[in-house]
Every structure is written in structure tokens, then in C-alpha cells.
């Protein structure tokens, strides 16, 4: 019993990490450049995009789940893909939820130093590519916390993933949905243990990240 539990626990952690990793990766891949462009770019529809992103930031996870569910259900537009109740569709729902957050946070990070940095870059006649890279590199510490926020959102998310994932044992069950289930079954101790593991993962990721960007010659 304990042994199978351990095996299952490891499997659940594995699914959770896989889902969170890919959700974070994809939403950052989309959201970071978009966030920079929304703040510094000059293109048509920029304001609309910014408003849309900040509105979507408030999208309730269950609603995001519902939308994705309807798109991927048997009779939905993407129904033929047969992705409902898979980790893939959970990632899709997460990307829908997290990308707006990444866009908005990135744009506010960039806005702090944006004007001066872009004037300085222009003064040095930096190319567009080098300027974009500079924006990301110069703000890397703040942007890393954007990435961590995205990861945190995705690992903590319940509503959307239980809806589109279905909380299927050995397949789409993740930490949060498992905690929900165990709590409903009255197994509080196990639910709490799962919660601890979740917290531990968060801690490890954060420590790793702060080690990565530590400044050696400064107080902060």
C-alpha cells in the first residue's frame, strides 16, 4: 500500500513538474517578447493588445478551463485531436491563463527603465536585435521573477487543470487535484503531506533561481 502510494506520489510529482515546466516555457516564450514589444514597440493595435492582456490577467481559471474544454471536447473545433483529459490540453489551458500574466508583468518591468535604456541604446546606434536583447538582459533579474511567478501560478493551479485534465489517476492527476481529492476523501494527513511537497518544490526552484542571478559585488 505504502509502496504503491510512493510510486504514485512520484508519478504525480512527475506529471506536475512536466505540466508546469512546459506551461511556463511556452507562456514565457510567447509572453516575454510580447511584453517587451508592447512596452517599447511602435505598431498598430499595441494599446488594444495591452488592454486585452491586462483584462485576461483577471480571467478566472475555471472559465479558462471551460473555454479550453469546449474547444477540445468531442464536438469542439479541436475535438478531432482527442486531446481532452491529457497533459497536453492541461498545458494549453495553463498557457491561456499564464501568458497574459507574463505579458503584463514583463511590460511593467520594462517600463521602469525603458525610456532611459532605449535612449541610451539609440545614442549608441545599437541595432534593433541588440536593443531587444539588451532590454531582456538588463532586466534579467526582474524578468526571472516573472518566470518564477508564471511557474508558481502554473504549479498551484487547480480549477482549469481538473476540468480539462479530469484528474485521472496515473495520467493527469497533479499535486493540486490530488490534494483536492484526498481532502474530499477525508485523508487530511496525506493531503497535507502533498501540500508540503508542493511547497518544497517551490522552495527549491526559488533557491535555484536566486543562486543563478546572485550578484557577487553588491549588497542586493
Amino acid at each position: 500500500m505504502l509502496l504503491t502510494m510512493d510510486k504514485e506520489l512520484i508519478q504525480i510529482i512527475g506529471v506536475t513538474l512536466k505540466m508546469s515546466f512546459f506551461s511556463t516555457l511556452i507562456s514565457c516564450f510567447l509572453g516575454l517578447p510580447l511584453g517587451v514589444l508592447i512596452e517599447r514597440g511602435r505598431f498598430w493595435g499595441r494599446r488594444t493588445l495591452k488592454k486585452t492582456a491586462s483584462t485576461l490577467m483577471g480571467l478566472p481559471p475555471v472559465v479558462a478551463g471551460l473555454i479550453v474544454y469546449m474547444l477540445f471536447t468531442k464536438y469542439g473545433i479541436f475535438g478531432s485531436l482527442g486531446l481532452l483529459f491529457t497533459v497536453e490540453v492541461m498545458v494549453i489551458a495553463q498557457v491561456l491563463l499564464i501568458t497574459p500574466v507574463v505579458i503584463c508583468l514583463t511590460s511593467s518591468v520594462i517600463s521602469v527603465s525603458g525610456k532611459h535604456l532605449s535612449e541610451t541604446a539609440r545614442g549608441l546606434s545599437l541595432s534593433k536585435g541588440k536593443t531587444l536583447l539588451l532590454f531582456v538582459f538588463h532586466n534579467r533579474r526582474a524578468l526571472l521573477s516573472v518566470v518564477l511567478t508564471a511557474f508558481g501560478r502554473s504549479i498551484a493551479e487547480v480549477g482549469a487543470v481538473s476540468l480539462v485534465g479530469g484528474n485521472i489517476q496515473w495520467k493527469t492527476r497533479v499535486m493540486t487535484t490530488a490534494i483536492l481529492l484526498e481532502t474530499n476523501k477525508g485523508k487530511f494527513t496525506f493531503a497535507l503531506a502533498l501540500g508540503m511537497v508542493l511547497l518544497l518544490i517551490s522552495l527549491i526552484v526559488n533557491i535555484g533561481a536566486s543562486l543563478l542571478t546572485k550578484r557577487r559585488d553588491s549588497d542586493d
Binding site: S113, G123, L124, S125, F137, H138, N139, R140, D217
Partner: protein, 221 residues
């Protein structure tokens, strides 16, 4: 050569700069001065092409521009200078190190630039420009936060750069003494308009405005 015609800059409805006519010849060294908010930075930004404006501007050649709030990139002092260079890493670092020597920052080359003092940051900003060539060099209060020694270092580095490149120089400054040392023409702005435009010698004899009088008084004592 820089040619401005009917340059107008407004923020919402407020006109902050209005220059009907201004010509700066190639190789001239010009100081731009005037009270806070008189439009010095705005004029430099317009020539540098970093803000939109109304009117006609002709600026021939490549431009290097150091903003008043020049930002040091969050990387090492050396990388700050190499970042805008292209080529082999070793060559870039050699060039950058030479530039750092010119502004007296070579000892700090490994330090992260976000930890520099105000004056050090200004010197780094200048070193970042000096590794390039240009036809027009625009400096917005390059010694605004710099001590006496640092000011001398910066002025000398700029002078020798200008001599080598035979470039046009426009420096915004609040210091009459710097204006005298650095330029052969002084342009004074007041509320966005050009009120003086002459050589230091002419200005000394016949300043047209109160600000101009106070300015040249500093040269007398």
C-alpha cells in the same frame, strides 16, 4: 552640418522648444546652455532622433548621443563598453579597455556597472561612446554629477576624441567655465527659444539677456 528649420516641440499643448532657424557647421564645438527646463535636452534629443517633433531637421553623418540620464547596463563595466562593438571578443575587450583607461575606470573593469557612483557612471557612459567613430557627438550634461578631477578627465577625453574624429560637438552644460573651455560657440536657450548665439568672446562683450550677463560674469572672476 546640422540644419534646423522651424523646429517645434510640444507636450500636449505646451510648447517646450521653438527654433525657427539654427545652423551648426561641421567641426564646430557648440555649448548649449540655459536654465532648468529651457529645452536643452529636448533639442539634443531631437537632433539625436530619439523623440518626434515638428519641422525640418538635417543632420548629416553618424551621430553618437549621451542622454542626461544615461543608463549603465546591468553587466560588467567592460561589457558595457564591448556591448555596442562587433568583432572578436578579444579585440573588443582590448578596444574597450583602452577606452576605460582614457576615462580612468580601468581598475573597475570587472565590477558590475550598476554599482558605480554617479560620476563613475558618467565616465563609463562616455567611454561607451568613445570606442566608436562619429560625425556628430551630442553630450547632455556629461559632467553634471562629476567631481573636479573627473570633469577634467571627461573634458580632455572629449576634446581629443573630437580632434581625432574632426566631428561636430554639442554639449549641454550649466557650467560657464566648461562652456568656455569646450566650445567656440555658445547657444543659450530660454523657455524653449534661442536667446543668445555667439562666440564666447562676443558674448562676453555684449550679452543680450540677464541670464547671459550672469553667465559671462562667471568668466570675469
Amino acid at each position: 552640418m546640422i540644419k534646423c528649420e522651424n523646429i517645434l516641440k510640444k507636450y500636449s499643448d505646451r510648447t517646450v522648444l521653438s527654433i525657427p532657424q539654427l545652423e551648426i557647421k561641421s567641426g564646430e564645438s557648440v555649448c548649449l546652455t540655459g536654465a532648468n527646463g529651457s529645452g536643452k535636452s529636448t533639442l539634443l534629443k531631437i537632433i539625436a532622433g530619439v523623440i518626434p517633433f515638428e519641422g525640418k531637421l538635417e543632420a548629416q553623418g553618424s551621430i553618437l548621443y549621451m542622454p542626461q540620464k544615461s543608463l549603465c547596463f546591468d553587466m560588467s563595466v567592460l561589457s558595457n563598453v564591448t556591448y555596442s562593438l562587433s568583432g572578436k571578443k578579444k579585440d573588443k575587450e582590448e578596444i574597450a579597455f583602452e577606452a576605460l583607461k582614457k576615462v580612468g575606470l580601468e581598475a573597475l573593469y570587472k565590477k558590475n556597472a550598476s554599482g558605480l557612483s554617479g560620476g563613475e557612471a558618467a565616465r563609463l557612459s562616455l567611454a561607451r561612446l568613445l570606442v566608436h567613430e562619429c560625425d556628430i557627438l551630442l553630450l547632455d550634461e556629461p559632467t553634471g554629477a562629476v567631481d573636479i578631477e573627473g570633469t577634467e578627465i571627461i573634458e580632455n577625453a572629449v576634446k581629443s576624441f573630437v580632434k581625432e574624429n574632426k566631428c561636430t560637438l554639442i554639449t549641454a552644460t550649466h557650467s560657464p567655465l566648461q562652456a568656455k573651455r569646450m566650445s567656440d560657440r555658445v547657444i543659450m536657450l530660454e523657455k524653449g527659444e534661442k536667446v543668445e548665439d555667439s562666440s564666447p568672446e562676443e558674448l562676453l562683450i555684449a550679452p543680450k539677456t540677464d541670464f547671459g550677463k550672469k553667465f559671462v560674469d562667471m568668466w570675469r572672476y
